[in-house]
Amino acid sequence: MKAEKRAKKPKGGDKIKKRFVDDSLVDEPKIKMKRRKFQPDRNLETKTLLKFAHAKTSDGMKKSQLSATKKNAEDEEKEAEDKPLLQPPEVESKKLEKYSRGEGIRVRSFKSKTFKRRIANKEKKIQFSAEEAARNEILMTETTGFLESEGYEETSKIRQKQIIKAVDVTSATKHFELNLEFGPYRIDYTRNGRHLLLGGRQGHVAAFDWVSKKLMCEINVMEDVLDLKWLHTENMFATAQKEWVFIYDNEGTEIHCVKQMHKILRLEYLPYHFLLASASETGHLNWLDVSVGKTIAGFQTRMGRLTHMAQNNYNGTIALGHPTGVVTLWSPMVKEPLAKMLCQKTAIMSMAIDPAGKYIASCGMDRNINIWDIRAMKPMQSYRVTGVPTSLSISQRGCLAAGNGDIVQLYKDCITVPAEGPYMTFKCKQWTVRQVQFCPYEDVLGIGAERGFSSILVPGSGEPNFDSYEHNPFRTKAQRKEAEVKALLEKVPAELITLDPLAITEVDIPSLHDKLEAQKKLLYMRPPKIDFNPRRKNKKGGGIQAAKTRQILREEAKKDFIKLIKKNKTDMLVPVGGNKVQQHAEPPSVLDRFKAKPKKKNQIAI
C-alpha cells in the first residue's frame, strides 16, 4: 500500500536512477498474499457495530445521532477494508535507508499501462524486500562493542592494560604480543578474521589461527619478504619475495613461483575475482587469476615505484598512491587509470580504503590525513596529526588506525563527521609500527612492527554480526570446501571491474561519441581473408581448377567488401539520429553535362 502511494507521488529529479535489486530477497510475495488474506470478517463487524448502535437508540438516542453512528460504522468498516488486521510494525526510515537500493523507477515515465503495472509491482516487491531486510535486524544476536568514559575525561587516556583488566577473559586473550627478530613485519588477516599471516622482512613467514593460537606453519624463506596476502581460503597464501611472488600452502610448502610478477612491493587479493594483484618496483601492475594461473592483465603504469596499494571492495578496483599526492584507481581491462584523485598536496605516505569501499584515507608528508569519498570523488575530512603516519587502516565500523613511529592512534566516527580527538592511543613495544590492520568481525587491531607483532583491543571497531554465507569465522572444513567450490563457480569475470559495479544492471545506451567511433571503424575495416581449400571430389588433377575457384571466390569477396565500404560511406552521410542528407535536390537529367562543372578547390585558392 505504501509503495502504491509512493508511486503516485511525483519524485524529485528528472534522472531516472536505475536500481539494483537483490533477488534473493524478492521472493516474498506469497507471504504478503497470505498476510493480505488475513482480513477481518467485515459482515460480522458491521453487524456488531449496528447492534451496538441499535442498543443505544433504544436508550433514547436521537435519530440524527443514530445516522452519525451508522456513518462512523461505515467509515470504520472502510478502514478495516483498507488495513489488514495484523500489520507488521513500521520500519524506521533510517534503517530502511541502509537496505534501500536507491530511489527506484518512476512509474509515470512509462506510457503503456501494462508496463506501468509491471513496474509498480516490481517496485512494491523491492520496497518489501528492503523492509524485510531491515526487520531482520531484530534477529541479530550480537551488539557492537564500545568504550566510554563516565566522566569528562577522554577515552584516549585509557591504557590498553586497563581495558584488558576490565573486559572478560576471552576478550582479554585477544590481546597478545609477539617479540620476533626477523622484522619488520607485514601482516594479513583472512576475510573472516580467523587466521593471521606474519611475514618478516628477513624471511620469517608464519601462519596461524590467532584466536586459538594454533600454529599452521612457520617457515624461513631465506629471502626478503616484502608483502604477503592470504588467497581465497586459509589454505593458501602468496608472498612477494626478493625477486618473484611465491604461493605457499598452509603447511608452508611452496606451490608456485610466479615469475610474471617481478620485484613486487605490494600485493592485493580480490576474492570475488580470484585475482592476485601486484605492484612492482618498476611501476608494473599485474593481475593474476589464481584459479587458472593465467595473467589477466599486466602493464606499465608509468607512475614510478609503486609503494602504496589498496583494493576497493565496492568495485574490485586497485588504488595506488603516488609520490605526487595522487591516488589512481585501476582496472585490469584499462591501461589508463580509471580515475585520478589529488588526495594530498605532498607525497602519499600511507593509504587505506574502508571495507565497504566508500571512503579512502590517505596521509601525506605534511601530516595531513585526508578522507575522500571514492564514489563521489569528493573530500570528506581532513585531520592534522602529530608525526607522519606510515600506515593506515579503516575498520568495518569506521574506526581509523594510524601508525606513526611506535605510536598507534585510533579515531572513531571520523569519516562522515569530524572527530574531535583520538579515540585511543597505543604505544607499541616492538619499536616502529610498519603495518596496522583491523581484524574483520573482531574488536582487534593487528600491528606489524619492527620487532614483532602485537594484537590490541579496540572496542567498537568490528562488525558484530557476520553473514555465514559470506564470511563465517566459525566455519567447518566441509563448509569451507563447499564455499570454495561455490566461489569458484561464481568467479566474477575481470571484465566487470569498473568504477560503477551496478553498470551491468543498467541499460547500455551508446553515447554520441561511441556511435561516431563505431561509424569510423566501419570505414577502416580490413578486407576479409579468404582461406579456402576446395574439396577435391574426384581426387584427380584439381590443382588448376582449385586455384581458379579460389581466385573466383577471392574476387567475389573483394567485390562484396568494396560494396560494403561504399555502403558504409553513404551511410556515414546520414547524421546520427537524423534523416538522410538530401544529396540531389532535383533528379539528374540528360542535360546535366552542359552545366558548368564545379571548380576544383586549388583553383579557387588561386
Binding site: 531486510a133 541479530m140 562493542g145 586497563q162 572478560d168 576471552t170 565497504a356 553473514d467 563457480l489 566487470l496
Partner: protein, 535 residues
C-alpha cells in the same frame, strides 16, 4: 544517606574526592564538597560499584564507601614515588565483541549448521556482477539439463493419426492409427492398457466424453463408434454403440459440459449422446471439414477448418454458422485457448501458426513463425499461456501464446513427420504421434527435474529462475538461453526462408521507394495470410 563517589581526580599529588549527590547537569563535577587527601599515587584501577582498588603495586589501598571509610589507613601513601604528579583515575564502561562459540557451532553432527544472516549491503559487495555470473551459470546449467525426451511408446502397427487425452486421468491417453487400431496407454507405467480394432481403414478422430468413461472414435468406414473404456468389452473390440453415417467423417470433438459432440466431414453434424440421427446438420461452402473443435469455455462455440482454406465458427444456439475466415493457405488444425475463450490458434499450411480473436478475424493477433514446413497439429497448454505445435518438418515447437517465435524446439533422429501433438492436463508433458508408428512423451520444460524436489533445491531453482529473468536481456545470457541445436535440414531450410523473407521485404521496400508516394502500401506479414472475413 550514603555518600556516592562521583569522580576521583588526582591533581598535583592531591586526591580530590567528590562525595554526596552531585547534580546530573553538572558534568564537569562540583568539587566544592571535596575532602582533600594529600599523597602520591601511581596508578589506580577501577572496580565495580563504588569500590576502588589500586593496581598491583599497591593492592592494599582500598576505598570503602559503604562504611564511610575512604582510605585504608594501613597504606603509607607517602612511600609511593611522586613522579606522576598528574594522573587521572577513570570510571569507564567497556564492552568488547565476544562471541560464544556455542551459539554459532552446532552441537552434534546430526544438527543443522547454525547460519547467521546479515543483509547489510556493505557485507555483500559486488552484488550486481556476482548475480550476473550466477545468472550466467544458471542459464548454462539449464542448457546442460535440457533433456526433454522421456520415452517412446511403440505398439502401433501403422502411423499414428490422432491422440485423445482422458479428461480426468492424467496418465490415460488414447491413440489411433492408420490401420484402424486404437491403443489406450498408461503413461505412468508407459504400457498399453487396451488395444482395440476400431475401424476399417484409418481412425480419423477421437474424443473422450467429459466423464472419461466413453471414447468416441470416427474412421474411414463412415462410422462413429462409442467405446466404454472401463469395461472389458472394448478389449474384445465390442463397441457400446455404433452410428453409421451416410458421409465420411474426418474429425470429432466432444462438448465439455453436455452430451453433445460434433463431427466434421462433408458436413458439420451435432450429435446428442446415443441418438443415431444428428440433431443439426449444417455447412458453409462445399468443401469438406477436416477439423472441428468445441470451445472448452464458451461451450456453444465450435471452430472448424475447411479444405477451401477457411476457418468457420459455428454456434450451437444458432442455425447458421457465425463467421468464416478465408486464408491464403489451408489451416490444418485449430485449437481454442482454454483460458481466453475468444482466442484460438490455427496451424497453417504456410509453415506458420496464427492466433485470432474470434470477434475480429480479419486481423490475426500474432503470427507464430519458426516451422520450416506445414504445421499439422496444435494443442493448447491448460494454462493458456503456451501451446505446442507439430509439423511436417519433423519437429515439435512450443510457443508462448503471445510471442512470435518459439520457446523450444524438439526433435529426434528417428521421429518422422508429426501427425498429432497434445499438451497434458497438468501442463508438464507433451505427447506427440508421428508417421513412424510411435507415440513420444516429452517434458514441456526441457530442463525440469522429474520427481520429488526438496525445499532447498526448490528455493535454489526459484532463485535461479528469477535471476535468469532479470538478466535475460543481456546478450551473452540471451544467446545461451535461445540457442537450439537443430537438424541440418531444419537449419538450412530456416536459412533459406530467412533469405526469401528478406528478399520479399527488400522488394517491397524498393517498390515503395520507387513509386509515387502513397500508391504502394506495405502489408504486415501476418495480414498477408488473410484473404477475407465473412459474416
Amino acid at each position: 544517606m550514603r555518600p556516592s563517589i562521583y569522580n576521583i581526580l588526582l591533581v598535583g599529588g592531591v586526591v580530590l574526592l567528590a562525595v554526596g549527590q552531585v547534580p546530573a547537569s553538572d558534568e564537569k563535577g562540583d568539587y566544592s564538597h571535596c575532602e582533600k587527601f594529600s599523597g602520591y599515587f601511581m596508578k589506580y584501577n577501577v572496580c565495580a560499584k563504588g569500590r576502588y582498588l589500586v593496581d598491583e603495586e599497591a593492592v592494599k589501598f582500598v576505598l570503602e564507601i559503604d562504611n564511610q571509610k575512604y582510605f585504608d589507613k594501613h597504606i603509607s601513601v607517602t612511600s609511593l614515588p611522586g613522579k606522576h604528579s598528574k594522573t587521572q583515575i577513570f570510571t569507564m564502561k567497556v564492552k568488547m565483541l565476544c562471541r560464544n562459540p556455542d551459539q554459532y557451532i552446532r552441537e552434534t553432527k546430526n544438527d543443522l549448521h547454525k547460519m547467521q544472516r546479515n543483509y547489510d549491503p556493505d557485507l555483500h559487495p559486488l552484488e550486481a556482477p556476482r548475480e550476473y555470473k550466477q545468472a550466467l551459470n544458471a542459464v548454462k546449467l539449464e542448457r546442460v539439463f535440457a533433456k526433454p525426451f522421456l520415452c517412446c511408446l511403440d505398439g502401433h502397427r501403422d502411423g499414428v493419426t490422432c491422440v485423445a487425452k482422458h479428461p480426468e486421468r492424467l496418465s490415460t491417453v488414447a491413440s489411433g492409427s492408420y490401420n484402424g487400431e486404437v491403443i489406450i496407454w498408461n503413461l505412468a507405467s508407459r504400457k498399453e492398457v487396451a488395444r482395440i480394432k476400431a475401424h476399417e481403414g484409418s481412425v480419423k478422430g477421437m474424443t473422450f466424453d467429459p466423464s472419461g468413461e466413453n471414447l468416441i472414435t470416427c474412421g474411414d468406414d463412415k462410422t462413429i463408434k462409442i467405446w466404454n473404456t472401463d469395461s472389458d468389452d472394448c478389449k474384445e473390440h465390442k463397441a457400446s454403440s455404433i452410428i453409421v453415417c451416410t458421409n465420411s467423417i474426418f474429425s470429432i470433438s466432444h462438448s465439455r459440459d453436455s452430451k453433445t459432440f460434433v463431427t466434421g466431414g462433408e458436413v458439420v453434424q451435432l450429435w446428442d449422446g446415443v441418438k443415431v440421427i444428428p440433431d443439426v446438420t449444417t455447412h458453409w461452402g462445399v468443401d469438406p471439414i477436416h477439423c472441428v473443435q468445441f470451445n472448452p469455455v464458451e461451450t456453444s462455440l465450435i471452430g472448424a477448418c475447411s479444405s477451401d482454406r477457411s476457418v468457420i465458427i459455428y454456434d450451437t444456439r444458432q442455425a447458421t454458422p457465425v463467421r468464416k475466415l478465408t486464408m491464403k493457405m489451408k489451416a490444418n488444425k485449430m485449437c481454442w485457448n482454454p483460458m481466453e475463450a475468444f482466442n484460438f490458434t490455427a496451424a497453417s499450411e504456410d509453415y506458420n501458426l496464427y492466433s485470432f480473436d474470434c470477434r475480429n478475424l480479419s486481423k490475426p493477433l500474432v503470427m507464430h513463425v519458426g516451422h520450416t514446413s506445414a504445421v499439422i497439429d496444435v494443442d493448447y497448454c491448460p494454462t493458456g499461456n503456451e501451446f505446442v505445435s507439430g509439423s511436417y518438418d519433423k519437429t515439435i515447437r512450443i510457443y508462448e501464446s503471445h510471442k512470435t517465435t518459439s520457446r523450444e524446439v524438439y526433435h529426434t533422429k528417428r521421429m518422422q513427420r508429426l501427425t498429432c501433438v497434445a499438451y497434458t492436463h497438468d501442463s508438464r508433458y507433451i505427447i506427440s504421434g508421428s508417421d513412424e508408428m510411435n507415440l513420444r512423451l516429452w517434458k514441456a520444460i526441457a530442463w525440469q527435474k522429474q520427481g520429488v524436489i526438496k525445499p532447498r533445491e526448490k528455493a535454489a531453482l526459484e532463485y535461479n529462475n528469477s535471476l535468469k529473468e532479470k538478466f535475460m536481456t543481456h546478450p551473452q545470457i540471451k544467446r545461451i538461453a535461445n540457442h537450439r541445436q537443430v537438424p541440418r535440414h531444419i537449419f538450412n531450410a530456416a536459412k533459406e526462408h530467412k533469405i526469401i523473407y528478406q528478399k520479399i521485404k527488400r522488394k517491397e521496400f524498393n517498390r515503395k521507394a520507387h513509386s509515387k508516394p502513397g500508391t504502394v502500401h506495405i502489408k504486415a506479414s501476418k495480414l498477408k495470410a488473410i484473404v477475407k472475413e465473412d459474416e
